[in-house]
């Protein structure tokens, strides 16, 4: 029998009791103890960013974090965005989630939870990021389907819808496209 450790994690504003072996990662505890399967296991070794969560607001890799090492820290997973948005008086989906949806910034969706959390952290720090700042902030989040342009456009669209601004010009210099205005969702 493996020894179980008993501890408490603060996830998405809830204090949750956990019983798991000492060597379990945060990703394992989220998925297999707390049933929060939004955080994905891609590479499980730091390369892909699919497991990205926010720890005290900063993007962390849940696959390279021992769960016990984040006792007492504020953990946010993709499941936490909608309730937090609603609790702040918002309606509909979280604005960044809504923009990713609107802009077709996903195909299989596996990278999305991590992408969106990295994007949330970027926007909290830099409310109107440039394409270079986006590229840097998302460099640890790999997407094998969509191509990154729609993801960058989604972030710009989220900024635009929040602030009533126009999204920046497209990376290759074509005329600015407002994803928000696209009826086909940008696909």
């Amino acid at each position: 029998m493996r020894r179980m450790a008993e501890y408490r994690l603060e996830v998405n504003g809830d204090s949750l009791d956990v019983s798991a072996p000492d060597h379990w990662t945060l990703l394992e505890v989220l998925r297999y103890r707390l049933a929060l399967t939004g955080s994905k296991q891609g590479c499980d070794k730091g390369d892909c960013g699919a497991c990205t969560v926010l720890v005290d607001g900063k993007p962390w890799l849940a696959c390279l974090t021992l769960a016990r090492s984040v006792v007492g820290r504020r953990i946010t997973t993709i499941e936490g965005l909608l309730p937090a948005h609603r609790a702040n008086g918002g309606s509909g989906a979280d604005p960044v989630q809504a923009a990713f949806d609107r802009c077709g910034a996903l195909q299989c969706g596996f990278c999305q939870p991590g992408m969106i959390l990295s994007a949330k952290a970027l926007l909290a720090k830099t409310p109107q990021p440039t394409r270079d700042e986006m590229r840097e902030a998302l460099s640890g989040n790999l997407c094998r389907c969509t191509g990154y342009t729609q993801i960058f456009e989604a972030i710009e669209s989220a900024v635009a819808s929040e602030l009533g601004l126009k999204p920046a010009a497209r990376a290759w210099g074509a005329p600015p496209v407002s994803c928000a205005a696209r009826k086909d969702g940008g696909a």
Partner: protein
Amino acid sequence: MKNFTYVMPTSLEQVVELLPGPRDLKTRDRVKVLAGGQDLLGELKEHLVEPEQVVNLKGVPGLAALTQQAGAWQIGALATLAALEENAALRASHTLVAEAAGSVGSTQIRNQGTVGGNLCQRPRCWYYRHEQAVCIKKGGAECFAYGGLNKYNAILGGGPSYIVHPSDLAPALVAAGATALIRGKKGERTVELERFFTLPSEGAVTRENVLAPDEVLVRVDVPAMAGWKSTYVKFRERSSYDFALAAVAAALRIEGGKVAEARLVLGGVAPVPWRCEKAEKALVGRKIDAETCRVVGELALEGAEPLAHNAYKLPLAKGLITKALTKLATA
């Protein structure tokens, strides 16, 4: 990952108490210290180490401190790479250190990764990282890279292992003249960071630094660099995030258009951060032009012995030296 017990002591005395004895070389990996975990968790998952206990350093107060006094910096072992990268005063006074920190991995790796973990991380040689490949580094008889696939291996200082030291901070901090504060069961000692790292031919081939089994790195002290300009130039195979194929940490003090003092340390080419003392001496008294860069590049790479697949590192490193020196001369 094999199971282990996890502890988080609240003082350095307790941490070193938990570690093996100073001469307990055979069983030193029975206990591993954890900082940001960005390297250690990979090692645990690949079964490269299977400790009985993991000791989290984060319960020790003050280890993440990053403080400045009269231009000199004290960098706690638990200071994150993001904290170095984002510190405007450090970027102004020790540009190369902030640039090196900012060049590590991805945003997530820099948020979690620490200075101590970055300096003490294990090699990335793919034979080392393969559970079943028991090469010299892991106590075996042969270096598989030497006659095998060695695109990412050393061109300088190799043998009997040909790893390159993977740390980006190491060359920058060595160029900045840093010292390491180390704590063991018997107390503290300081080592010049340049002497902290060991060649496979001079130290134990299975380690990359002077830490004894009972020791941890506590702090890195960086002297003031008033009047110096510095930079860290790194070349990656893929620009999103990657380890260095080659990198240059360069610092110059220029007086009246000529170099008065110079530091030049290469990363990604040798098992240790590779200090180029001949090249540093040659720089003194010269102005930075094409001829200087050529001479310095030749001296810096003197003695290089490329393996079958990594001769490209020679022109690459020389090009990066030119880029770094030119940048500093025109900055």
